[in-house]
């Protein structure tokens, strides 16, 4: 812009008298014309000029960036909030800012809250920018102020979102390690630039939402109405926070939020529990995900919980012995970025991602931190400049190098800010337009230092700084690669090694009992050495071997992990390229080993079906536990498959195994609570049953003919299926019903064949496994009764013949497959009938009958120690007997979505179960269920009796969430807890049903 035009503009825009005073100031602005144009618009919009005392501020901001100018024009009041002489030099504290925000909110209390947040942000941006432009704050100060602003705004959003949710669901509660009731808390962990307190004007904020523990909310009132799972509660909270901050409206967003770094990435749950997050980073996360945690910082919400998270991941981010490949992967990642940039022709113009740019500096710093941070906690620092300083402190950088790098960083970040501030765009590319480039140079203040050649000065300085960064980055990644080569020692899996060395290496890898591990390790070595005859496999193994060993050392039970790993390898070795394919996917090795060490049940599936491993990554990241409809969709597809019934049944079994594996993986990763897992397994069972019912119907009419019309049946689920509490390996308790239709003997016999096929398809073991064991003995007259019964027949039976224990069993009945209307009618009619008859029987008769049956079961438990927990006094059976007794006695219909816990609270609310009894039963039930569940998951067998050896007990204790302690202690504690709950249940039984004469279990 020529001098003449500027003068003209000044004269036109400024009041006479002012123009001469300000002309010089305006001319030195980066964009004098822009400033004056803004002034004109301001006047046009507001009908006035800014107050003379504020005019310098206006010109400074508007002359710097059209974006800042537009903010002033939108909200002239903002100008008044800036102190006339520019902001003070003193840094603002978090408290100051929070107070300011509170005041601002109050002033604007009539507005929509998210709008207020946006306005406050804009006001503060102006303040920070002004201080930046006037050079009253240096780059670290500016980025710190921006970060603080984000922290405070997010924190406010957390509080705002909480208020309405608390009113709706009550407060989230959980049980701590000692089982005490506690409040579950929520924290926002910042990652990326916000985590490092080095935020840009226009960066996204990288956030991670975590909650402290699974549990349930207290509900709106004492009755617990509105109670939901913590997961649900916090998911809503997280969504609401995201909406408040990142939701777009007429005035834009507060911040763009990037949640892509959360566990599971884009497919992961929006918020996960602390435990699940830790499990994820321990077992699933890839190198770069752990690298991102260098910058993790609890930012808003419950900071204490956030600190627990950061402390928990620290050993993972900075392992005592870093895996050199992690660092090589950083290099590889940068190489990919480079390739993309150069294909887009941006290698030179992108000051962030290009060669010698900000990213290389950050990666170089992080590589050094990862390499040395394990031994030197001082280096664990999320802020890049501070990290540079500390690296220099510890001698990992020379002083010259440090000084050059920190100058380069400040220069590059400032340049980035100035690129972004133009139009508030998240850009880091130098503009192609010469005029725009000149304005950028002027924003850097270069026209003051090198008048007339500011663009050249900018490019020269840029080259200089980028050269420093490039040298540093190359030396770091190169040195790491070199160090790795020198570190190449004998490979534990491949090279000759005597037992002594082997044991010693195992011990160093964190395997506490290397003697027990020796056998599986030697077997695995033998297998791998054979496989490594193929050069490709050998190379993959050399590369993956250390990761494999690390994963084993990290496993909860290295011996189990090794034994299952060896079996998995044997199974893979039998397939063409099987081993190679697993070994070359380094990112799934860790998760695989973890799963193998955690569960024999899952290992059993994976060993028979190693192909499931190939999709492991996706499976670990499924957003939510699939429900019945999802299963029905996946499994139901086979009904349309070509091929004979046998082939379709085989495909059903295969898909069923895959679904089981997926669920078990979610279970192990704590992506689902126990209650959710059991519901998931029940949904899977129902869907499998439904598909089997339909499959068995095909071809009933004879080859190629449709089944005759009117052929209908429904399956009622009893037992665990009835309560939707199926576990791994639970039997299906089923009863089949149809409608009584006189004179349709042929139809009935066809229905019978149908049932027979259903049962056969469900229960036969083939090379693809078995779907379920089916138990049909609960049907009227037990094993002798007809396989299928009409609803009317069932009703007759329950009106006259059924015994009390049968009434108890059928209280759990729930339509699970087949004709829904028919099943629903059956379940409903039976429930009414049973409750009616129960109340007619009278308390004494009921009590005698229930006690008598209980006695028989307890005697069976005494006779057969193998079944002592299930049947014995004070166990799960007692809890269910209490529920059923109370239901029968008081005629209590099942609440919707019945299960054990719901019935306990339901009976309590109705006043039939005392507070203490309910509490005792509730906790005992959770404990026994968890115990049984872990037994099945870990050892692939139900909880028949408490295992005797301490190691097993401790493993179970750890799995159900005990904090780690010496094995003996953990085992003793579990035994005590078990005994305590048993006693409590027996007491509750005595109180509710009456004295139970059975001898106590020995």
């Amino acid at each position: 812009m020529s001098e003449a035009t500027i003068d003209a503009l000044i004269a036109a825009s400024l009041p006479p008298g002012e123009s001469s005073r300000l002309a010089d100031r305006v001319e030195r602005l980066p964009d004098p014309a822009g400033a004056l144009r803004a002034l004109q618009v301001f006047r046009a919009e507001t009908g006035r000029l800014p107050d003379p005392s504020r005019l310098p501020n206006f010109l400074a901001l508007a002359g710097f960036s059209p974006y800042l100018a537009s903010l002033l024009i939108q909200e002239p009041a903002f100008l008044d909030s800036l102190p006339p002489g520019g902001p003070t030099r003193e840094p603002r504290t978090r408290e100051d800012l929070e107070e300011d925000l509170a005041r601002f909110m109050q002033l604007n209390s009539g507005c929509e809250p998210s709008l207020v947040l946006r306005r406050f942000k804009k006001r503060e941006i102006l303040r920070i920018a002004l201080s930046d432009i006037l050079r009253m704050t240096d780059l670290p100060g500016v980025t710190r102020d921006l970060s603080l602003l984000a922290d405070v705004l997010v924190d406010r959003a957390v509080r705002m979102a909480r208020t309405s949710l608390d009113a709706r669901y009550g407060r989230p509660t959980c049980r701590d390690d000692q089982g005490h009731l506690d409040e579950a808390t929520f924290v926002v962990v910042a990652l990326g630039k916000l985590g490092g307190e080095e935020l840009n004007y226009s960066s996204d904020i990288d956030l991670l939402y975590l909650f402290s523990r699974d549990g349930e909310t207290s509900g709106r009132d004492l009755s617990g109405e509105g109670s939901t799972s913590n997961r649900e509660f916090f998911t809503r909270l997280a969504t609401e926070i995201t909406r408040l901050i990142a939701g777009t409206g007429p005035e834009g967003q507060v911040f763009r939020i990037d949640l892509g770094l959360r566990p599971g990435g884009k497919d992961g749950d929006i918020t996960v529990s602390l435990q699940a997050a830790l499990a994820y980073y321990r077992n699933w996360a890839e190198g770069w995900e752990r690298q991102a945690l260098i910058k993790a910082r609890p930012a808003s919400g419950c900071l204490a919980a956030g600190r627990r998270f950061v402390e928990g991941v620290e050993p993972l981010v900075y392992p005592a012995r870093p895996d050199p490949y992690t660092i090589l992967e950083i290099g590889a990642m940068k190489d990919r970025i480079d390739a993309r940039l150069s294909s887009e022709g941006r290698s030179d113009t992108d000051i962030k991602l290009g060669r010698g740019g900000i990213r290389e500096l950050e990666f170089g710093v992080q590589a050094l931190q990862l390499q040395h941070g394990g031994k030197d906690p001082w280096l664990r620092q999320g802020n890049t400049l501070l990290a540079l300083h500390r690296l220099a402190d510890k001698g990992f950088l020379g002083y010259e190098e440090y000084s050059g790098l920190s100058k380069a960083y400040v220069f590059l970040r400032e340049l980035e800010h100035r690129l972004q501030l133009g139009q508030n765009r998240q850009t880091s590319t130098l503009p192609a337009d010469a005029g725009e480039l000149r304005r950028v140079a002027r924003r850097m203040g270069l026209h003051e230092q090198a008048p007339g050649r500011e663009v050249e000065a900018l490019l020269e300085a840029l080259d200089l700084h980028r050269e420093v960064v490039r040298r540093f980055y190359d030396s770091v990644t190169g040195a790491v690669a070199q160090a790795r080569l020198e570190d190449e020692r004998d490979d534990l899996w491949l090279d000759r090694m005597d037992d002594e060395t082997l044991r010693e290496r195992l011990l160093r890898s964190g395997i506490a009992d290397p003697i027990a591990a020796l056998r599986p390790v030697k077997l695995t070595r033998k297998l791998l050495q054979q496989a490594a005859a193929a050069p490709e496999t050998r190379r993959a193994l050399r590369k993956s071997g250390p990761a494999l060993l690390t994963a084993v050392g990290r496993s909860g039970n290295p011996r189990r992990a090794l034994e299952n790993l060896e079996r998995l390898f044997s199974s893979l070795a039998a397939e063409k390229q099987g081993l190679l394919s697993l070994l070359s996917h380094r990112e799934i090795l860790g998760p695989t080993v973890h799963l193998l060490g955690r569960s024999d049940f899952l290992a059993g599936i994976l060993i028979r079906r190693p192909d499931i491993l190939r999709t492991l990554e996706d499976r670990g990241r499924i957003v939510r536990t699939p429900a019945r409809a999802d299963y029905l969709r996946t499994l139901g597809r086979i009904l349309r498959h070509k091929g004979d019934a046998r082939a379709r049944a085989a495909e059903l079994r295969r898909r069923h195994q895959e679904a089981l594996a997926t669920l078990a993986i979610r279970d192990i990763n704590r992506q689902a609570t126990l209650r959710e897992v059991l519901k998931g397994l029940s949904d899977l069972a129902e869907a499998t049953l439904e598909v089997t019912v339909r499959l068995a119907r095909q071809g009933l009419g004879g080859p190629g003919r449709a089944a005759p019309p009117g052929l209908r049946l429904a399956a009622l689920g009893l037992g665990r299926l009835g309560y939707r509490e199926m576990d791994y390996g639970s039997d299906l308790d089923l009863v089949f019903v149809d409608e009584a239709r006189p004179g349709s003997a042929a139809l009935r016999s066809l229905t019978r064949v149908w049932c027979e096929r259903i049962v056969r398809n469900l229960s036969s073991l083939s090379r693809d496994g078995q779907l379920y064991r089916v138990d049909l003995r609960l049907r009227p007259s037990g094993g002798e009764g007809d396989l299928i019964m009409s609803v009317e027949g069932l009703v007759d039976y329950f009106r006259d013949t059924a015994e009390v224990w049968e009434m108890q069993s059928f209280l759990k009945a729930r339509p699970v497959a087949g004709e829904p209307a028919l099943g629903g009618r059956a379940a409903q009619t039976l429930e009414t009938l049973i409750l009616e008859r129960g109340s007619h029987l009278g308390t004494d008769v009921l009590r005698a009958a229930v006690n008598d049956m209980r006695q028989r079961l307890v005697q069976e438990a005494q006779r057969d120690a193998r079944r002592s927990v299930k049947l014995g006094a004070g166990g799960l059976f007692d809890i269910h007997f209490i529920i059923e007794f109370l239901q029968l006695r008081h005629g209590v219909p099942n609440p919707p979505d019945k299960d054990t816990l719901r019935l306990l609270t339901h009976l309590h609310r109705l006043g039939y179960l005392s507070e203490t009894a309910m509490q005792a039963l509730y906790e005992a039930y959770l404990f026994f269920r968890a115990l049984d569940h872990e037994m099945r998951l870990i050892h692939q067998r139900p909880l028949d009796r408490l295992p005797e050896d301490d190691i097993r007990l401790a493993e179970i204790a750890a799995a159900i969430g005990a904090s780690s302690a010496p094995v003996g202690e953990m085992a003793a504690h579990l035994r005590e807890t078990f005994e305590r709950h048993t006693q409590a249940v027996r007491r509750a039984y005595g109180e509710t049903i009456g004295p139970f004469t059975g001898r106590p279990r020995g």
Partner: protein, 471 residues
């Protein structure tokens, strides 16, 4: 494979009048009942035939006695011993209401074991080649009551008849343990065995050889070709049926009792075993005796579980009179190429990989072959799945192995009672894949104790009079 229509055609073509339905009880005796041929339709192979299972040994309690047998078309064979043309069909036992396989049907257990094998992905077929030995006697009598008891067997070729005045006695009787295997006239039963072989082949069982066995008094062996587990067990049952009935037809009697003669060899049923997958013998490799690691681990499993297995594969009190040291009895739980006292021998007759197999020697023909084969497979599989090391072969340093070291090699239980105790403690490996159930094992142990071990305990033995009468 034969299908139901093929069976109906066979009925028609052979002018069959009666169909005989057969199934196995738990202890191992073949049971049967018959229906007129017109009752057999294609539907019969799904619907089955009803019977009362309450009095079958080891089956249902009285209150749930109705059961069904469903014939297996593949098993059909024309009975060679009836005057009325009769077709025999081997059946599966199923629940009449749910049509589920009956948990205690031994043939069902065998089939479940085969399913489990496939499910385990270790192999798709297990081949069994059983070699059942037996005695042909001319006379057998036994009785025991409160005040007396005896048994008496006789054979035209029994060494003990050398001094008998037979006007004239022509001699040529095998000396004790020298029956293996001089030509006639020592061998008195060449033709009878040949007739048995022809009858067996007519029933569809392929025979590889027949010969006299070691003991005097008519000990024989006829070797069948191996087959897959359940079919091999079917063949054992058919073999016993045909051998016994051929002898009866010729006025002689056959026993598969393991140890009918004192002082000479007993009758075993060595079982050759191998696992195959995709047409490949998994036992062939380059380890000891040409064995693969899988083969050696299978051996490891068999050896480890042998004490428990004994209760199923040598399931009579009489079995343990055979399983005594000496008498070439395989009591040492080890494997070897040569040593016949080792429980497992690796035959070296052929070097072809296809012929690579092991010979497990403790079983005897008093076992229920369905249960025995299933149990052996499960033990071997346990070895494969857990990579159980079979230890060193027994013959590696056989000459250096004095009685002292031999003592360190574990041996089979000395009695049925002991074996049952072992089974009670060690049967996890049988329960995998629900092949055997707790109920099966419990029932077996209870049955054997109550019906066999205890009754034996109650009875004085004749030799006790020799030892103690004058005390």
């Amino acid at each position: 494979m034969r299908k139901p229509p093929d069976v109906l055609k066979l009925v028609k073509d052979s002018d069959i009048k009666i169909v005989d339905l057969r199934f196995m009880d738990m202890p191992g005796l073949w049971q049967h009942f018959s229906v007129p041929a017109h009752e057999l339709t294609e539907g019969s192979f799904e619907e089955g035939f009803g019977f009362d299972g309450s009095s079958i040994r080891g089956f249902q309690a009285i209150h749930e006695s109705d059961m069904l047998v469903v014939p297996d078309a593949e098993s059909a064979f024309v009975d060679g011993f009836t005057e009325v043309p009769t077709l025999d069909l081997i059946c599966n036992v199923v629940d009449p209401v749910t049509k589920e396989r009956y948990g205690r049907d031994p043939r069902g257990i065998a089939q479940r074991a085969e399913n489990y094998l496939q499910y385990s992905k270790v192999a798709d077929t297990a081949y069994f080649g059983p070699e059942a030995e037996f005695f042909i006697f001319d006379d057998v009598r036994f009785d025991q009551n409160a005040h007396s008891g005896f048994y008496y067997v006789d054979s035209v070729e029994g060494q003990w008849n050398s001094g008998k005045d037979e006007r004239p006695n022509l001699g040529y009787r095998p000396r004790h343990k020298e029956g293996y295997f001089p030509v006639p006239p020592h061998d008195h039963f060449q033709d009878l065995r040949s007739e048995m072989v022809l009858n067996l082949e007519r029933a569809g069982i392929q025979i590889e050889a027949h010969h006299h066995e070691v003991a005097t008094g008519g000990q024989m062996e006829i070797d069948m070709r191996y087959d897959s587990l359940t079919r091999a067990a079917d063949h054992v049952v058919m073999y016993k049926y045909i051998v016994k009935n051929t002898a009866i037809k010729r006025g002689r009697t056959v026993t598969f009792m393991p140890k009918p003669l004192f002082g000479d060899n007993g009758s075993g049923m060595h079982c050759h075993q191998s696992l195959w997958k995709g047409g490949k013998n998994l036992f062939a490799g380059d380890g000891y005796g040409g064995f693969s690691p899988i083969g050696l681990h299978y051996i490891g499993g068999l050896l480890k579980h042998s004490p428990a297995l004994a209760a199923i594969i040598a399931p009579t009190t009489n079995s343990y009179k055979r399983l005594t040291p000496g008498f070439e009895a395989p009591v040492n739980l080890a494997y070897s190429r040569r040593n016949r006292s080792a429980a497992i021998r690796i035959p070296m007759i052929s070097t072809s990989p296809a012929a690579k197999r092991l010979e497990y020697r403790p079983p005897d023909p008093s076992c229920n072959p369905y249960l025995a084969f299933a149990a052996m497979l499960m033990a071997g599989l346990d070895g494969v799945e857990n990579k159980i090391d079979p230890g060193k072969p027994l013959d590696k340093d056989i000459y250096g192995l004095g009685p002292k070291e031999l003592k360190e090699i574990p041996s089979l239980p000395g009695s049925l009672d002991e074996a049952l105790n072992h089974l009670e403690r060690d049967h996890e490996f049988l329960l995998k894949g629900d092949v055997f159930t707790e109920d099966n094992i419990r029932m077996w142990i209870d049955y054997k104790r109550e019906r066999e071990v205890n009754p034996m305990r109650l009875r004085p033995h004749p030799y006790e009079f020799a030892l103690y009468f004058d005390i």
